[in-house]
C-alpha cells in the first residue's frame, strides 16, 4: 500500500530532466493499488490465502490506518498523544452502533455484508464516516484544551481523556437509561461488515487523503509548527488552528480504523481500549520512524504479523517481540526509516533519466 505515498515533491526543473506529469503519477499508483486488491481478492477466492490469513491481513490494514493516523499527531505535528485507543473505541462503537441500528432502515441483513449488496456497501460507508466524525468531534473537544500543553503534559492529559472515554463507554448505558454500548459486558453481535477488499480500499483512501493533506499548504504549516513553533507563528501560521486540525484529522482516521476493527472482531469492550492499546499503536509509529508514512505502514504490518507468525513458538513469542523492539531501539533509535518517505514516481523518474544508482555510487566514492 506504500505506493500511495508517492510524493508530489516538485520536480526540479532542470534542463533535459524527464519528469512524470501529476495525472500519470496518480494513474500509476491507482493501478498498482487496484492490482494489489484484485490479486489479493483473487487469491482469497482461489483459496491461496486462507481465512485465518485473511483475518490477519484485515488486522494489518486496520493497524496501518491506526499507525498512520497517529503519525499525523506524533510524526508530523511533533506531539506525543497517548490517547489514540480512545478515538479508536469512539469510532468503533459509533460505527458499530450506527450500522446495527440502521440495518433495518437500509433493508440490510447480516448476510448482505458478505455478498456485498449495494445497500450494505452504502451503510458500511456511511457508518464508517459516522464513526470517523464522532471520533473527530471527540478529538476536537480533547484537542482544544490539550494542545495548549506540550510534551509530557500533553501525553498525560490525552492519556486521561482516553481513560474518560473508556469509563464513559462503560457507564453511559446506566446514565442515559438505554442500551447503547452494552456497558462493561461489551457490545456484541456486531455484523462482520469488514472484509479484505473494503479494508484495503479504506486503507488506500486514508493513506491518499493523509498524504495529500501533508503535501498541501495545511500539511506544510503542520510541519513548520513541528520544526519550530515560534518561527512558524512569526511567519503567520496560526499554530493553535493547525495543531487542532492535525489532532482532529488524526482522531478522524483513528475512528475509521476503529470502525473497521469492530466489524472485524464482532465484539467491542471498553477494557480493550485502555492505555496499552494506545502504547501498542505508538510503538508502531516510533518503530517505523516518526514522520515516515511508509515506516508506519511497514511497522504496523510487521508488528501485527509477528505475533501470529511466531505462534508456533507459543510461549516464547512475546519474548521475540520484545527483543525485536529492544534491538531496534538500540541500533536505530530514529525508527526503521527515520523520516524517509518512499516515492515510486521519484524512482521511476530517476530510472527514466538513468540516474537510479548515480547518487549511491557517488556517495560510495565519497566515503572512500
Amino acid at each position: 500500500m506504500a505506493k500511495k505515498t508517492a510524493t508530489a515533491a516538485s520536480p526540479k526543473v532542470e534542463k533535459g530532466y524527464k519528469s512524470l506529469s501529476m495525472p500519470a503519477r496518480y494513474v500509476i499508483n491507482l493501478v498498482l493499488v487496484a492490482v494489489f486488491i484484485f490479486v489479493g481478492e483473487a487469491m482469497i477466492d482461489g483459496g491461496m490465502i486462507s481465512r485465518y490469513q485473511t483475518g490477519v491481513l484485515e488486522q494489518v490494514g486496520i493497524y496501518i490506518i491506526m499507525a498512520v493516523s497517529l503519525n499525523i499527531a506524533t510524526g508530523y505535528l511533533g506531539q506525543l498523544p497517548l490517547g489514540h485507543a480512545g478515538f479508536m473505541s469512539v469510532g468503533g462503537y459509533s460505527c458499530a452502533i450506527f450500522i446495527m441500528r440502521n440495518m433495518e432502515a437500509f433493508g440490510v441483513t447480516a448476510r448482505d455484508f458478505a455478498t456485498g449488496a449495494p445497500q450494505a456497501t452504502l451503510l458500511f460507508v456511511v457508518g464508517l464516516i459516522f464513526g470517523g466524525i464522532m471520533a473527530a468531534i471527540c478529538g476536537l473537544i480533547i484537542g482544544i484544551p490539550a494542545l495548549r500543553l506540550k510534551g509530557d503534559y500533553l501525553a498525560i492529559i490525552t492519556l486521561g481523556f482516553a481513560e474518560i472515554i473508556r469509563v464513559v463507554m462503560q457507564n453511559i448505558d446506566g446514565a442515559i437509561g438505554m442500551d447503547l454500548t452494552g456497558g462493561q459486558k461489551g457490545l456484541t453481535g456486531i455484523p462482520s461488515y469488514t472484509n479484505f477488499v473494503n479494508t484495503f480500499v479504506v486503507v488506500a483512501i486514508s493513506l491518499f487523503l493523509i498524504h495529500t493533506m501533508m503535501k498541501s499548504r495545511h500539511g506544510r504549516a503542520i510541519l513548520a509548527i513541528r520544526d519550530n513553533e515560534i518561527a512558524a507563528e512569526a511567519t503567520g501560521v496560526n499554530a493553535t488552528y493547525y495543531k487542532t486540525l492535525a489532532f482532529v484529522v488524526s482522531a478522524f482516521f483513528a475512528g475509521i480504523g476503529g470502525g473497521l476493527y469492530a466489524g472485524c472482531i464482532g465484539v467491542m469492550m471498553p477494557a480493550k481500549f485502555g492505555f496499552m492499546k494506545s502504547v501498542e499503536i505508538l510503538v508502531m509509529v516510533v518503530l517505523g520512524g516518526m514522520g515516515s508514512m511508509l515506516g508506519s505502514v511497514i511497522s504496523a504490518t510487521v508488528l501485527t504479523i509477528l505475533p501470529e507468525a511466531l505462534r508456533a513458538f507459543a510461549d516464547y513469542r512475546m519474548l521475540a517481540y520484545s527483543i525485536v523492539l529492544i534491538v531496534m531501539m538500540i541500533f536505530r533509535p530514529e525508527g526503521l526509516l527515520g523520516s524517509y518517505d518512499f516515492s515510486l514516481s521519484r524512482i521511476i523518474e530517476k530510472a527514466m533519466n538513468g540516474q537510479l544508482f548515480k547518487k549511491k555510487a557517488k556517495a560510495a566514492k565519497e566515503a572512500k
Binding site: S50, Q170, K185, G186, I265, G266, A309
Partner: protein, 396 residues
C-alpha cells in the same frame, strides 16, 4: 579476531530476524496443510485460552484440567481406537488474537473447541463459530451473550445471574431480612451477580438496604462500608474477586461488623486474603472445592496432584469437566459411526450429542436442557476455623 562493526551487526540481526519471520510463516502454513492426516489415527480438538497476559492464571488452570482428562482418555485407549490430539493455542486474553486463533484451528481441522476462558474473547469466538457450526464448549465463560450466539455454543460453568439468584434464595432460606451489596461497578462479573441478587432478593421479600459500587482497583472500602453498616444489614452480598473480598471483609470487621458476608465463586482463594476469624461463618457458592468428600472429586484431586504436583482449583475442575462434555459427545458420535470424521455432519452430530448427553463431571452432573447453559448442582461453602466446608448442595 575480527571485530564486527555496528552496521554489520545490524545487517546480520536484520537478516536473522527476517529468516525467523519467514520460518514462522513457513511453519504456520505447513501445519495448516496437515489437516488431512486424521483418518484412523486421531481426533483433533482445539484448546483455546489465555496462557500469557493478565488472565493467564485462569487459562492455565483450565488447560491443566482439560489436558489431564484428555491424557486419561488417551491412556485408556482413546475414543474408538483413535487418540485425541489437542491443538492448543494462546490468545493472551485478547479478542483479536482469539479470533485469529479460532480461524487457525478451523484451518487445522479441529472437530470441536474447548474454549474460550474469559468473556469478551469467548463471545468474539462464539460469533465467529456461527459460520462453521463449530461445537464450542467453554469451561468458564459466564457472560450471557456467549451461549446466545448460537446453538453450537455451550458452557460447563454456571452463569453470573444464576449465582446471584442462588445466593438470594439462600439468603432468604437462612432467614436474613435486610441485605446490602458491595461490588466492583466496573466488572461485568460483579455487576451481573449483584444485579441478579438484588432482583431475586426483592422478589423474595427481602429488603435491600443499600447497593454500593466501587471502582476497579480500589483498595479502601471504608466509605462504602460505613454507609452499608449504617443501614444495619443481616448479611452483605460481596460478589467480587477474592483479592477485593479479602480486603472488604477485613475492613468491615475492623469497623465492627459482626454479620455474615455472602459471595459468589470469585471468593475461591479468599483464605489467603483475610484471616480465619474474619471469614468464620461467611458463605459463597461454588462449583468445586477440594474439601469435598465425594469420591469422584477426591479421585480427581489425587490424579491432578500426581500429574502437576499442585492442588486443583475451581477452574481446573471446570476445564476437566468441559473436556468430559466434549469427549463424551465425540464418543457418542464415533460409536454411532454415521457421520464421517471432519465433515459438517460430524460437527452437527457433536453439537446434538452435547445437547442431549449427560456428563458426569467433578463439579456435578452436567446436562443441557435446550440452551447452552448447564443444569447442574451448585455447592454453598462456608468457613469453619479457616477451612472451607460444604454447607449445602443446591440441586439444579
Amino acid at each position: 579476531m575480527g571485530t564486527i562493526s555496528r552496521r554489520d551487526f545490524m545487517k546480520m540481526s536484520g537478516a536473522i530476524a527476517g529468516m525467523a519471520v519467514l520460518a514462522g510463516c513457513g511453519g504456520g502454513s505447513g501445519s495448516s496443510s496437515s489437516d488431512g492426516g486424521s483418518e484412523g489415527g486421531s481426533i483433533k480438538v482445539g484448546l483455546l485460552g489465555p496462557y500469557s497476559g493478565d488472565v493467564a492464571q485462569y487459562g492455565l488452570a483450565v488447560r491443566n484440567g482439560a489436558e489431564l482428562y484428555v491424557k486419561q482418555v488417551n491412556e485408556a485407549g482413546g475414543i474408538n481406537g483413535k487418540q485425541i490430539e489437542l491443538d492448543t493455542m494462546d490468545e493472551k486474553g485478547d479478542s483479536t488474537e482469539a479470533v485469529n486463533a479460532y480461524n487457525k484451528m478451523v484451518e487445522d481441522g479441529v472437530v470441536a473447541i474447548l474454549g474460550d476462558v474469559t468473556s469478551t474473547p469467548s463471545i468474539a469466538v462464539a460469533q465467529q463459530s456461527q459460520n462453521d457450526n463449530m461445537p464450542l464448549v467453554s469451561a468458564s465463560t459466564t457472560a450471557a451473550a456467549f451461549v446466545e450466539a448460537g446453538p453450537n455454543v455451550f458452557r460447563a460453568c454456571i452463569t453470573d445471574p444464576f449465582q446471584g439468584k442462588l445466593m438470594a434464595d439462600f439468603a432468604a432460606d437462612q432467614g436474613y431480612k435486610n441485605v446490602a451489596t458491595i461490588f466492583n461497578s466496573g466488572g461485568d462479573y460483579e455487576v451481573g451477580v449483584a444485579d441478579a441478587f438484588v432482583e431475586e432478593a426483592k422478589s423474595k421479600g427481602l429488603t435491600v438496604t443499600t447497593e454500593q459500587g466501587y471502582a476497579a482497583g480500589d483498595v479502601d472500602f471504608n466509605s462504602q462500608l460505613t454507609t452499608i453498616l449504617a443501614t444495619n444489614p443481616d448479611a452483605i452480598m460481596c460478589p467480587n474477586y477474592y483479592q477485593d473480598d479479602g480486603k472488604i471483609v477485613t475492613q468491615a470487621r475492623q469497623q465492627g461488623y459482626t454479620g455474615v458476608f455472602l459471595g459468589a465463586d470469585g471468593w475461591s482463594g479468599v483464605l489467603d486474603y483475610a484471616s480465619a476469624e474474619d471469614l468464620e461463618g461467611c458463605f459463597y457458592d461454588c462449583s468445586f472445592t477440594a474439601n469435598n468428600d465425594d469420591e469422584k472429586v477426591q479421585k480427581f484431586i489425587a490424579d491432578y496432584k500426581a500429574e502437576y504436583d499442585a492442588d486443583p482449583g475451581n477452574f481446573d475442575a471446570l476445564g476437566y469437566d468441559a473436556a468430559i462434555v466434549i469427549l463424551n459427545a465425540i464418543e457418542t458420535v464415533e460409536k454411532d459411526g454415521k457421520a464421517e470424521y471432519g465433515t459438517d455432519d460430524y460437527k452437527q452430530a457433536i453439537v446434538d450429542a452435547i445437547a442431549s448427553g449427560t456428563a458426569d463431571g467433578v463439579t456435578g452432573t452436567i446436562k443441557y436442557e435446550g440452551t447452552g447453559d448447564p443444569v447442574k448442582p451448585t455447592l454453598v461453602l462456608t468457613f469453619e476455623g479457616g477451612v472451607e466446608k460444604v454447607f449445602t448442595t443446591v440441586e439444579a
